[in-house]
Subunit: 246 residues, 4 copies
């Protein structure tokens, strides 16, 4: 009986298992990104003269590697924040999650494409489109889970649900803008790509507006560990990590 | 003593560990699929003219990537649903599971083959055969675990066991049909490949027939979390996720 | 305090964490094996004529893939059986384990080599040597953990320790024999490679000799879940799974 | 409520989940290293004559593989020892950890570069720089977590914090030295690379100085499992495993 009960609340596939599998997929996808960085092959006689310039040619690939690593990192954080509030799974959630993972696992391809041909508009459009779709699937999953409290608890803060949705949709919006701008200048659209991580990594104004109350100190956090503080304002948005800050 | 007891019920290798290792293997196998999508290598002078048409040539590979991703996803779901009912492990189960993983890990190869040569009958036959064998191994594992209640609990619903078997065998049957049809038309046989995910992702008529009782609401599910509802009808079939639907 | 206590018995790195990391490494290593199976590249005009013969040429690679998959599977089983009895970790154990993983992760290379050049003696010797060293490292780890009850419980069955050692050393011995025979005939030495899985997968005579007592039924196993049955005879040998058989 | 409380102390992302994801990333990164070892491609007529010399040419790659494997292993150990003392997470810690993983996942590239061109100074500098940055990020993470007891418990031993910092900074210092020496001799700088593992794998004098008290026997460790011994001296340094030694 004990085995059954820790498998989840009556559903065959608990959210724990979905998260463990997703963690594995995220970990592999984020590591596969480095495979795009290939050591330049140079004939022995010319190595000492050509190695350094050939390595410098890898700069765009290195930048795209870092960018994609951070983006997959953001989605991993978003995935866990989302599943923090999802208490049950059903068939549709499971397949929405697999659809999300399909997008995540696909990211190494547009990353390699943009790293290889960073000046081509088609690279920018495919890269941005992948992230638009990934963001929309994440929001679809969040909408599915929260609408009519389908898979979340009934006492979830409605503001939290909305703010998370806004954050989920911010990235696709920026990437859509980048696609539009790419018709004018591919270079400027690449700058937009770098803005998304900045938006998600650093706590934004919106976050601060919604969290006027003092943050926990280490001691308070320990005392309230079994309490109900985890659904408070700042921690709400799936695309941000909002643990107590000093 | 506490360490021992949470290792499982007297067997060296608990089903928990088998599942954790299998999860890792599934996660890597599903991510390796994307490595088939290689960025086209074009000489600099012709990039702007040739990149787009070269990328369009990747469509069949992209479709096969999505198809195989979903198929591995289906088997991951099936694997976990199967192990939901398996409460014990033994030497044979362990090796049947490793045999199943061997099939799963192999899937990227026929996927790459079919992506490269989608119009060749031999690609279709190898792809379909892999999935026929995978499905049969899954059913063999299920049959081994359930026959004479070998590794499952004695109060398991016999209808559940049979319905799961039917579902496990449906995919191999469709793939066998696809192999037969490939002798007439390779194109039509490819359509059959797309049917399997549809069959497993969407809840079928059979499922509904066997689950006339009202589904749980979120509240009920929470109340019955430690109860005995998890062996109920709908949740039975290893190849389908059958958590409560709204 | 609760976090600390479930981290292990006073050591910084509990065996749980070692096992989780090792599981991940095993899962990736076993999946990387399939990357050796590359789709043959054929110019379009000759595909329909050359694809089938080119695929048949992959047979040796396929066989080696299956062989190596099963061998890594055997070592995964052995790893877990070994750590079932190891209750503590120390610095040396940790590095012996990393040394073992280094061997496991290396296996894809000799696998690719033997798959590419199966008729070459040097391939056979490198493949066999890798597995000799892997087996010796496993036994070194087992000897380190068990000698003077260093990291195991004092009531461990001494016969269990010895029988596990014999099993650990059987594989290196067979592979050493295969190396010797390769000087006479490479083909015969390859047959020896296939014998090792047979030895470890199927329960041997020795196992049966040591387990005359009746096996548990499902009900008994549940009753004795928190009992002391897990150190019984059959379950002892690290290279075999010895859960109750019907 | 029970699900929430085991997710961590009031923060959305518990350190457990960070560790699980990091474990996955480490496992993949350490396995990807072997992909640098490629089987030499030789035309059939010359295999028996050229295979052995071609394999001998792989020696530098093999050495670098072992070296990098051990280094990633050291950082995995360091990562876990660090997170042993970190009891809470916040947004900054999360991103410092992702930055650390970005460095870890990058290691296969300089490994491949140094394996391909071991005699080139630029390879040495890129390899060493990667590890300098990785070490500094690890120390930054440790400093962030421990300064003003931000994410650790207030009763943490201050000497432990300092000694860990010294250990974290030792590796970057040695690698900086290796970079300096590479301007004189690339060969000697490579020797320095091999010194780092020796320093971290074997317990150093400093460790012994700080741990004059007798180590636990197996029995004592079991008794004190729920006690407070885990913050004792020897176990302090994040870059060393300091479980009881016999």
């Amino acid at each position: 009986m004990s085995i059954q009960s820790n498998r989840g609340t009556g559903s065959v596939l608990s959210t724990n298992r979905i998260e463990a599998f997703s963690d594995g997929v995220f970990a592999v996808a984020i590591t596969v990104l480095v495979l795009n960085l290939q050591v330049p092959q140079i004939i022995p006689a010319q190595v000492s003269r050509e190695l350094l310039p050939k390595l410098f040619e890898l700069w765009p690939k290195l930048l795209i590697y870092v960018l994609s690593f951070v983006i997959v990192g953001i989605y991993w954080v978003a995935h866990h924040n989302t599943f923090h509030y999802i208490k049950q799974s059903d068939r549709n959630l499971l397949w929405l999650n697999i659809l999300l993972l399909l997008c995540i696992v696909f990211i190494p391809f547009p990353t390699a494409l943009l790293g290889q041909y960073p000046e081509q508009q088609v690279s920018v459009i495919i890269y941005a489109s992948t992230l638009v779709i990934t963001g929309l699937v994440l929001q679809l999953l969040w909408w599915y889970a929260t609408s009519e409290y389908r898979l979340v608890e009934r006492d979830i803060d409605p503001q939290l649900v909305q703010r998370a949705a806004r954050r989920n949709l911010a990235a696709p919006l920026i990437y859509l803008l980048a696609i539009g701008i790419s018709f004018l200048s591919v270079q400027i659209s690449l700058v937009f790509f770098a803005l998304v991580p900045v938006y998600y990594i650093f706590p934004g104004r919106i976050d601060r507006y919604w969290t006027p109350r003092p943050t926990h100190s280490v001691e308070e956090a320990k005392i309230s560990a079994d309490g109900d503080t985890s659904l408070s304002g700042e921690e709400a948005s799936p695309l941000s990590v909002t643990a107590p800050e000093e």
